[in-house]
């Protein structure tokens, strides 16, 4: 395990893409009490780095991601994106949500083209590019389908294309493959790795699935059980790339990493459920 304070390896990373410094996130509950979801958290994601945050359910992982996206404001600490303090919504980010976020009233093609149209590109140009992106995520034959006519996995692919077509500088993913079945998740994982390998954006990937986190990322951060969740572990994943999200799970090094990290995560998971029993 890398200790938290260890100096980062000096790769060709000049600046950090995402930087959270002493971020605290709290919500006001009904009745006036406050619930501190995330306590004093600092995270740094370098450019080209794929970082996964793993933690027990309800620990505040998604909340943290929303703070990076600018969807909610931390009560303390600072969020820097691409070296600039975040003000309002994070326009540089592409956000893939856990739930379906595509517009149900638009076809797959129109949904994907939307990101470019909003940015002022002409409709025909946007649609041409959207067609190419739908091809890239394996939906070339489904361009004219409405979301309800697609399977859960296909909708995620539309969502992925919708996010990537804008070429965001950073990618935020909130358990994007959570609702999918195990096989589909691995296929989506590989798809994500392939697309990511093309231009290596900075990725902050939230999941509760440790295997998925190890298979995909460069670094796995462990978050403690909430409330007042914090980062309690930072593990470098030194598995060679390119990887296959399914085959890598048979690698002995994968098992070693899994054993080490799980040892730490397990305690937090038990804490979450133990807390509920009490």
């Amino acid at each position: 395990m890398d200790s938290l304070g260890a100096p980062r390896p000096t790769r060709d990373v000049a600046a950090s893409a995402i930087r959270l410094d002493g971020v605290r996130i709290a919500f006001r509950l009904e009745g006036g009490a406050t619930y501190e979801a995330v306590a004093d958290t600092s995270i740094e994601v370098a450019e080209n780095e794929f970082v996964a945050i793993v933690g027990p359910t309800g620990c505040g992982k998604s909340t943290l991601l929303n703070a990076v996206a600018g969807l909610l404001k931390p009560v303390a600490g600072r969020v820097d994106v691409l070296g600039r303090p975040l003000a309002g919504l994070c326009r540089e980010a592409g956000y893939l949500f856990q739930q379906d976020a595509v517009m149900p009233w638009k076809t797959a093609l129109d949904n994907v083209a939307l990101g470019l149209e909003v940015a002022g590109r002409s409709r025909s140009e946007a649609r041409d590019e959207a067609r190419a992106w739908l091809g890239r995520v394996g939906l070339a034959r489904f361009t004219d389908r409405y979301p309800h006519q697609l399977s859960g996995g296909q909708r995620k692919r539309v969502g992925l294309a919708q996010v990537l077509i804008r070429h965001p500088k950073i990618l935020l993913m909130d358990e994007p493959f959570g609702p999918l079945d195990a096989q589909t998740r691995q296929i989506m994982g590989n798809l994500l790795l392939d697309l990511w390998a093309a231009d290596r954006k900075a990725v902050l990937f939230v999941t509760h699935d440790l295997e998925e986190a190890i298979a995909l990322s460069d670094r796995v951060l462990i978050m403690s059980a909430g409330p007042t969740a914090r980062i309690i572990g930072d593990h470098r994943i030194d598995l060679a790339r390119p990887r296959d999200a399914a085959d890598i799970r048979l690698d002995p090094r994968f098992h070693e990493l899994h054993r080490t990290i799980w040892g730490q995560l397990k305690a937090e998971v038990i804490k979450t459920y133990g807390g509920e029993d009490a």
């Binding site: 949500f97 379906d100 976020a101 638009k106 909003v118 919708q162 804008r166």
Partner: protein
């Protein structure tokens, strides 16, 4: 159930109802007619009357008047409902201020407004349109309001992060969502536009289906009343069919509640 079987059963119900009516009004059972023609007319007399209405062509004028009133009531009520629905949904303070008044007006049985509209707008089509508008407006208003309020927060967050400004949010998110709610109530609101028109005509006018029925009632012409009702019912069915066609076209993105829907 197969289509043919369903259709034949539907026809059977109609035939049975007609047969009961005919027997009741034509055949004496124990020396009495169960459905005296003075009160119930007879099927053949009503059909003869309907045929005559169309043969002489007098019905077209009345149908046209009712159709125009319905269309105007729907159009004006829907536009008003959309504008105010959006405005109130996006400005919670405005909504909170006007809320009790809206509830009050909506609670009012609209028929009592008819005499006022006649006083203000005369016996022409506009008093009927106004009555229809008061009915349509609230249905559309509440649905649009709901449609804007019920936009999925995830879809909204996604749209915002995509960089949409207010205008684009309106066009790509709020508007389609509100429209889907509005269209799901299209049958009701078009129906109420027609109710407004016919009730208005019934209470005072010189043309329209409501006027025809009222005239016939005034002289105890039961065949005329039933004939008017029959034409009105057929008219409603045609409008309803047209609304369904429009709805299918515009809400093609909506999932249908059927298991074998791919």
């Amino acid at each position: 159930m197969s289509r043919v079987k369903l259709l034949s059963l539907q026809i059977l119900v109609g035939v049975v109802l007609l047969a009961v009516w005919w027997i009741g009004s034509n055949v004496k059972i124990f020396g009495v007619l169960l459905l005296p023609p003075f009160f119930f007319s007879t099927p053949e007399a009503v059909f003869a009357r309907v045929v005559r209405m169309f043969a002489t062509g007098m019905i077209w004028k009345h149908l046209a008047v009712t159709l125009i009133e319905t269309a105007l009531a729907f159009a004006i009520g829907a536009i008003g409902g959309i504008v105010f629905g959006f405005w109130f949904a996006r400005k919670p303070t405005v909504a909170a201020v006007f809320d009790p008044y809206l509830k009050m007006i909506n609670a009012l049985p609209r028929v009592v407004l008819a005499p006022i509209f006649m006083l203000w707008l005369g016996l022409g089509i506009w008093s009927k349109v106004a009555l229809g508008v008061t009915l349509v407006f609230f249905i559309v208003f509440f649905n649009v309001y709901q449609g804007v309020k019920e936009v999925s927060p995830v879809v909204l967050a996604n749209a915002r992060l995509m960089g949409m400004n207010e205008r684009q949010l309106f066009r790509h998110v709020y508007w389609p969502s509100a429209l889907s709610w509005m269209f799901s109530s299209l049958h009701t609101s078009v129906g109420f536009a027609l109710v407004g028109a016919v009730v208005g005509e019934y209470l005072g006018s010189s043309a329209g289906l409501g006027y025809l029925i009222h005239q016939a009632e005034g002289v105890f012409d039961i065949a005329g009343v039933f004939a008017g009702m029959l034409v009105l019912a057929a008219f409603v069915l045609v409008i309803d069919w047209a609304v369904t066609a429009i709805e299918d076209r515009l809400l093609v993105w909506r999932p249908r509640n059927s298991l074998n829907d791919a």
